[in-house]
Assembly symmetry: C2
Homo-oligomer: 332 residues x 2
Amino acid sequence: MNGEQTLIDRIRRAIPSQSRRRARSPAGLRLGIGDDAALISPRCGLDSVITCDAFLENVHFLPDVHSPGSVGYKSLARATSDLAAMGAAPRYFLLTLALPARRTGQWLDAFLAGMSRAAREYGLLLIGGDTSCQPTVAISITVIGEIAPGAALTRSGARPGDRIFVSGTLGAAQLGLQLIRRGLHRQTRWKPFLRQHCYPSIRIFLGQFLAVRHLASAMMDLSDGLSTDLSRLCATSRVGARIWLDHLPAVAVPPSLRTRGFDPITIALHGGDDYELLFTVPRRLAKKIPAQHRGVRLTPIGEITRERKISLVGKDDRATPLLSLGWDHFRR
Amino acid sequence: MNGEQTLIDRIRRAIPSQSRRRARSPAGLRLGIGDDAALISPRCGLDSVITCDAFLENVHFLPDVHSPGSVGYKSLARATSDLAAMGAAPRYFLLTLALPARRTGQWLDAFLAGMSRAAREYGLLLIGGDTSCQPTVAISITVIGEIAPGAALTRSGARPGDRIFVSGTLGAAQLGLQLIRRGLHRQTRWKPFLRQHCYPSIRIFLGQFLAVRHLASAMMDLSDGLSTDLSRLCATSRVGARIWLDHLPAVAVPPSLRTRGFDPITIALHGGDDYELLFTVPRRLAKKIPAQHRGVRLTPIGEITRERKISLVGKDDRATPLLSLGWDHFRR
């Protein structure tokens, strides 16, 4: 058997997938992995939600630092987070995988185990993909979900007066990345702080809760940092925002790291990779947002303004401009 | 404005796309490029067909040899060819693009112009994607099409006695690749022989014709060479095949290249990148296959056998095994 086919068979065995037609299935997967393309019979009356995301060696991960299990898990998690950000239910994914030959052994097995874990958590079936051989690992993932028409939450619906909420904690992933950048990640006591960076939690159930109940006016996931992502949401909605500094659910930074310059507020404002949900809620509905959903804290952090600038408001009520200092691949 | 947003805006302007909802559209694109994910309202009663394909610098193309326009055109063509191979109508695509900073100027403009040309030819709308910065160009494309339930042609339907057909000419792309490998591609007289390698024709209308009329029992596109792809189709259908050597529509190789070792039959049997369609037809329907479709020649080249081996039959009726010598990314 040729090498590429062996590789495809290993992927198929490792990750939840289905290659054959389900007999007489009125909707769902008709043909999965293994042919020229996958065939899906969409459920009538539901919209399809589609997104894709790259995860590249030396850009998104470092093979000496990030375990193959983390690479597999996180690459699928961050792609799926874009579905959570619309309020959609994840269904299927396709995996485009480029690998050097030296990564086709144990590294690949651990990578597939991590990806399989994420696929099972999110209820995703692998239905297709493409493999090739190149000197560095490159992963590109397409995720497909479904949602009731009219329920999807986009970036364009925020209106002046809406309350701004975030889920969970801000900056946990960035704290892990900074520990890596300072070479502190190999110290046992800091390992727990790497969890959100390596195995991010994403907010699928919260996204669906907000979409199905029509509680939010706009939503996105925080992948590039609050300051950058909020400015994108505001630009798309043609509004501005005021963020209440002392309401930010910033990551808890141990005192011994604070003294080394790890500042929780800076990390919470500009750190990427959190995959928490940022959403806006019409003021009359804000009371309906629970303090937590399935154990995930929901925090009001500010309000949408008509004036199209983004400000940070301190306890003294003084506003300063919030600059977008989050992640940008092509910043010069 | 940040660099990544500027890049996304350039892509959006260059390639047919649609970012806003079509008001009251009962089916079709609800939300295109620019949000966390795209939203499609599938037409009730049609199946969705989805495939993805990578196109990588130094693996699938060489930046010193292949023009950026060819890279843009071919990367989308070969992904869309997988839809043609199912008989589906192309509708939407997503583009994951990783680029070094030095390729974000004129190179990118020409790349996008080539991709846009292919998108217009195939009727594809860009609905999403992802951009990042890395030292080499990496393109990953997801294409989505639609087809009537039961019409899709897979690799698994070939039965003993079926006639085997191919469209067009075999080996034209491989001839171009060999000219490049021998350093002959810069000579003006050989430039016309690079066309199918750089700007491949794909067979969307033929695929739909065969699927809608239920003329074929199995189909795939020839991306890795006849010998390799036919063995895949036969393995999936659990059958074998006899190929009639003197029926092969091999590329015409000029005598001055033949004397340099360019053998048309070897190139036609094992050369990849043709994107012609390989399909099988029940014997009773073989007469219904026209000699050409929209100017593309259709040639019977052999028959499916119960015995699960693949043979090459010469004029003297002697059969020799046909080895899979086409492209394999992970051959050791």
